[in-house]
Structures are given as structure tokens and as C-alpha cells.
């Protein structure tokens, strides 16, 4: 292979340096908020109100103070309970539904699928108002007592989620029909196909659905605010953090330390599973 002339190679090198310089500059802009949060979380409360940006001294005990001031262990447990159970529910309920929308031919399939997709347009405020009224008043005699508990956040996820059904269906569609036929030749039914072919081959999509739901629930604020806003026992981290700010609005160091403790699990999860996230989001937008 002939080498490119020196002048061309020099220009390519310059272009490369230029491209990376711009991208590094943008990366720094994207990271600045995280860096400031970290720095402020380690400052004394007087320094966090001053223009000095490097912590002096480093106050690691801010994190312990957050634990002392709010029941962080309980909130973290509540958040895990909500995020974990609702993720389980979404996976269990959406895999069979997505199977029916992708691997079996039946009349009216496209119309019903359109109905599933159209629920994505539905503002959650529309249904949450009714649900709140139903459970705050009319159904009190059932003693279900949803207001003030995490139940209304967890239970519906066991009954399907439009976005997850959509994502799983998109993936199931790509699995070659021959693999299913092989199971049929051996006398297997649809359930065997689902268990032996579709689920094992769809692990990336199921993982993406699981992660998206876990992060969604972990971050969710509106529904938690409505259902358990009045009950400190059932609060999740997002709610506790929003109230922490009201109580400690001038103690930026503690507020930032609490924010950091709230964000770190999501950031760690993201770096461990970034491929799953990025492939999942690509699956939603480019196809279909």
C-alpha cells in the first residue's frame, strides 16, 4: 500500500487534533455541573456561599451529616423496593404481550397495537387525578388504602407498559422465523418458542427495558409526590431530596452532598451497563 504524501498526512493529523479539541471542550462543559456538585458537597457551609471554588478544607463529614439529618436508609430502601418491583412487573407482563404483537398473526393486531402506542400520548396527570379520587374516597371501604403507600406506583407495572411493549416488539420482530420453525418441527408450541428462542435471544432488549424502567422509577418524582407526598414513611429519594432543599436551602454543601448520594447509583449503573442503554435507546428511535 502506498503511503499518503507527507502534506496530506499532516493535514489529517491537524484535522484529528482539531476534532478532538472541540469534542473534549464539549465534554468538559457536560461534566462541569457534576464537578461543581462534587466540589460543593465537600465544602464547609460558609465556603459554599463564597466565590472560592476549591474545597478548603475538605469536609467529608457532610455525607455523614446528610445521613444524620434524614432517614436516608429508609428512603433508599423504599426507592429500591419501588424500582425493583416495578421493573420485575414490567418485564413479566410485557414479554408475553410483545410476543403476541410480533410473532403471532391475528386479525386486528395492527389496530390493537396502535391503541397501545396511542396510550404513550396520554398525559399521566389525566389518569392519576382519577386514581387519586378513587382511592382517596370512593374505594375507602375496600381498605386498599393506596394514598400514602407505594402500591399505586408498583402495581400498575404488572399490567403492561406501552413503551416497553413497543421496544420488545421491535426486537422480537428481528428474530428469524426459521428458529421458531425448528422448535415447531420438534413438536413445540408457542410457549416453548417464547421460552427457548425468543427470551434467550432477546436478552439485550429485555435488559434495556429493565434498565430503563429501573432508572425511570428511581428518578420518578411526580407520581411519588402525588401518592406519598404526605407520608414520610413511604417516601423515595427523589421526594426526600426535593424537601431537603426546602429545609436546607442555604446549606448548599449539604444539598449537593445529598444530590450526589442520590445520583451516584444511577451514574454507576449507567457506566456498568452503558452499552445496554445506548443500544436500547437506538432501538426506539431509528427503527419503526
Amino acid at each position: 500500500m502506498r503511503r499518503a504524501p507527507a502534506s496530506v498526512r499532516r493535514r489529517q493529523l491537524l484535522m484529528m487534533v482539531f476534532n478532538h479539541a472541540i469534542l473534549i471542550a464539549i465534554s468538559i462543559i457536560f461534566m462541569i455541573p457534576i464537578l461543581f456538585m462534587f466540589a460543593t458537597a465537600l465544602m464547609t457551609d460558609t465556603q459554599s456561599l463564597s466565590p472560592r471554588l476549591v474545597p478548603d478544607p475538605f469536609v467529608w463529614s457532610n455525607f455523614r451529616q446528610v445521613f444524620d439529618q434524614i432517614d436516608l436508609v429508609r428512603y433508599t430502601w423504599n426507592t429500591f423496593l419501588y424500582a425493583g418491583l416495578s421493573t420485575l412487573g414490567v418485564i413479566l407482563s410485557c414479554v408475553p404481550v410483545a410476543y403476541a404483537f410480533s410473532r403471532i398473526q391475528w386479525r386486528g393486531r395492527n389496530v390493537v397495537f396502535l391503541l397501545v402506542l396511542s396510550t404513550l400520548m396520554l398525559p399521566s396527570q389525566l389518569t392519576i387525578i382519577s386514581m387519586y379520587v378513587i382511592f382517596a374516597r370512593d374505594l375507602d371501604w375496600t381498605h386498599i388504602q393506596w394514598v400514602g403507600t407505594l402500591k399505586p406506583l408498583i402495581l400498575p407495572s404488572f399490567f403492561g407498559d406501552a413503551f416497553s411493549i413497543f421496544l420488545l416488539r421491535q426486537f422480537f420482530m428481528t428474530i428469524p422465523q426459521e428458529l421458531a420453525d425448528a422448535v415447531r418441527v420438534d413438536g413445540g408450541g408457542e410457549l416453548q418458542i417464547l421460552r427457548q428462542v425468543i427470551v434467550p435471544l432477546s436478552k439485550p432488549a429485555i435488559a434495556a427495558v429493565g434498565l430503563f424502567n429501573f432508572v425511570y422509577a428511581w428518578n420518578n418524582f411526580y407520581d411519588v409526590l402525588v401518592w406519598v407526598g404526605e407520608n414520610p414513611q413511604a417516601q423515595t429519594l427523589s421526594l426526600a431530596l426535593s424537601q431537603f432543599k426546602t429545609l436546607h436551602h442555604v446549606e448548599w454543601n449539604l444539598t449537593m452532598a445529598a444530590s450526589l448520594l442520590f445520583m451516584i447509583p444511577v451514574i454507576l449503573l449507567f457506566f456498568v451497563a452503558q452499552r445496554v442503554f445506548i443500544e436500547g435507546i437506538t432501538l426506539t428511535g431509528v427503527k419503526g
Binding site: L23, I26, F30, S48, Q125, L126, S130, N219, F221, V286
Partner: protein, 300 residues
């Protein structure tokens, strides 16, 4: 027949969920939207009064309703195009280097999955007028008076736009995937005809990206109508919509009416108008999409 029983069995979680958590609540809220209902006594049928009060027909009008509509349209009108523009520009920069793309993509994507309550708090800190790093920097520039951001009705929404741009990573990932899907031959063909960089963008890149633009615009509009978390955190829970009503978005005012004032009938009416507005916008986008969205080529 057995096949349909089987399909029905597979679909049963969604059917039950759709009836119990979507269809029935929607029906009930439609009924309640024609009533006065404060949860303590039975709903009283008042016909269209809630809707009339909302739109200011026949005397009484809700002064905060139109404020919330204006603020919401503002955040959509500026937020959605900015997301498309910056998302596309950042993704195009990412297609240039041969190596290290995944590292950058990871960094850009990360802020978009961080909890909104957390990122909003961080930006309230960054933008805080007295000790926030942004104003410390701005005040060093001669002849510049740093704005009060979340303390000034004129600057509160622009500050939220900046917060929104920080979480642009999911759009960047989508645009990047779209860009990598553009067949090389198209660029080669247009280059042979002597096209310059702008023409390559205008006649190849942009048309090929229209499906992704369409998707991000629809999602952006639907989310924009329901804008809540960031505004709630930025204005503080004691006084919703502060400063001076500039952060009183539709979702915020509806939340106040439903869960603080317990005007359940009025809030249900607001929710129905919101739903119809979202449907109308989506339908409008879908109809116009035939003119400007190109399917085919590298897209499936």
C-alpha cells in the same frame, strides 16, 4: 379459535391494565370534569362551567390558566428546536473522529439519565445569584450585570433551557445512530456532482435525518406539555410557579388545583384539555410529516 384464546391470554395483562388504569379512570375524569368536586362532598354536576372558567367564557376567568398555557408554549417553542439543533450538531461532530467516539458518546449521554430532581437542584445551585459559579464568572466580565436567573421572571425560563440542554444526550445518541445509517454512496454521488459541504448537508444528511428529527420533535412536544419536575424544584415547593408566575407551567397549575386546592373537577377538565392539545399537536405533526419526513434509504 384456540389461537385467539392464546393471544387473549398473552395480552391479558395489558387488557386488564388498560381497563383498570387507563380506560376507566379516563371515563371517570371526563365525568368529573363536568362537576364541582372537592373530595369532601359528592360531585355536583355543573355542566360546562369548568371549561368556561378555564377559557374565560361568560364572566369569570381563571387568570392563572392562560399564564400557565403561555409559559408551557414558551418552553416548547424554545426547548424543542434547541434540542434538535444542538442534538444534531453534537452528533455531527461525533461522526468526525475515527477513534474515541464511544467515550464521548457515553459522557454526553450520562446527564440525560441522571434524576431530574438532582440535576435541577445542581442547576439551581450553579445559577444562584449570589454564590453560584455562573454569576461569579459573569460578574468578572466588565460592564456585565449578571442576571438573577431563578430570582428574575425574565431569566427563570432561559435558565431552565440551559438545564434542558444539559440532558440532551439521548437525542445525541439517536442522531448519531441516524447519521451512521446514511449510505456512503449518497455522499459519493453528490460529491461527484461537485456539491460543497453545505449542499451535502442540505441534500443528503438533513433528509436522511428527518425520521429522527420527527421522533425527537414528537417526544419533545409531548414531554413539553407535561413539564413539571424541573419547574417544581426551581421555584421551590412553598410557592409554586415563582418567580412571579414565570415558572407556572400547565402541569404545575394542574397539580396545584388537583392536589393542593382539591378542585378535582376543574383539574380533570384541565387534564382533558391537555390530552386533547397533545393529540391535536401529534396529529398535526403526523399529517405534515408526509411532506418533510423521508423514509427509505438506510432507514427501515
Amino acid at each position: 379459535m384456540r389461537k385467539y384464546a392464546f393471544v387473549l391470554m398473552l395480552l391479558s395483562p395489558w387488557i386488564i391494565g388498560f381497563l383498570a388504569f387507563t380506560a376507566i379512570p379516563m371515563g371517570l375524569s371526563l365525568y368529573w370534569s363536568f362537576t364541582h368536586y372537592d373530595l369532601t362532598s359528592d360531585p355536583i354536576w355543573i355542566g360546562l362551567s369548568n371549561y368556561k372558567f378555564m377559557f374565560g367564557i361568560g364572566g369569570h376567568a381563571d387568570p392563572f390558566y392562560w399564564m400557565s398555557v403561555k409559559n408551557t408554549l414558551w418552553i416548547i417553542a424554545f426547548g424543542v428546536p434547541l434540542r434538535v439543533l444542538f442534538g444534531m450538531a453534537t452528533a455531527m461532530l461525533l461522526t468526525r473522529p475515527r477513534r474515541g467516539v464511544n467515550g464521548y458518546r457515553t459522557l454526553f449521554y450520562m446527564p440525560s439519565i441522571v434524576p431530574r430532581v438532582g440535576s435541577a437542584l445542581v442547576f439551581v445551585y450553579l445559577f444562584n445569584p449570589l454564590s453560584g459559579p455562573i454569576n461569579i464568572l459573569l460578574n468578572k466580565i466588565p460592564y456585565v450585570t449578571a442576571p438573577l436567573w431563578f430570582g428574575d421572571p425574565r431569566w427563570a425560563k432561559p435558565a431552565l433551557l440551559v438545564l434542558g440542554l444539559w440532558g440532551i444526550g439521548d437525542a445525541v445518541v439517536l442522531y448519531l445512530a441516524g447519521l451512521l445509517n446514511v449510505p456512503r454512496q449518497l455522499y459519493e454521488a453528490i460529491s461527484i456532482e461537485g456539491a460543497n459541504a453545505w449542499q451535502r448537508f442540505r441534500y443528503v444528511t438533513l433528509p436522511m435525518l428527518t425520521p429522527v428529527i420527527f421522533f425527537t420533535v414528537i417526544i419533545g412536544v409531548i414531554d413539553g406539555f407535561q413539564y413539571f419536575d424541573q419547574a417544581y424544584i426551581a421555584s421551590g415547593s412553598a410557592t409554586l410557579g415563582e418567580p412571579n408566575g414565570s415558572l407556572l407551567f400547565y402541569g404545575i397549575w394542574m397539580y396545584e388545583q388537583a392536589f393542593q386546592s382539591f378542585h378535582m373537577g376543574y383539574a380533570a377538565a384541565m387534564a382533558w384539555v391537555l390530552f386533547l392539545a397533545i393529540m391535536a399537536c401529534t396529529a398535526l405533526l403526523l399529517i405534515t410529516s408526509r411532506r418533510w419526513v423521508h423514509y427509505g434509504g438506510g432507514m427501515s
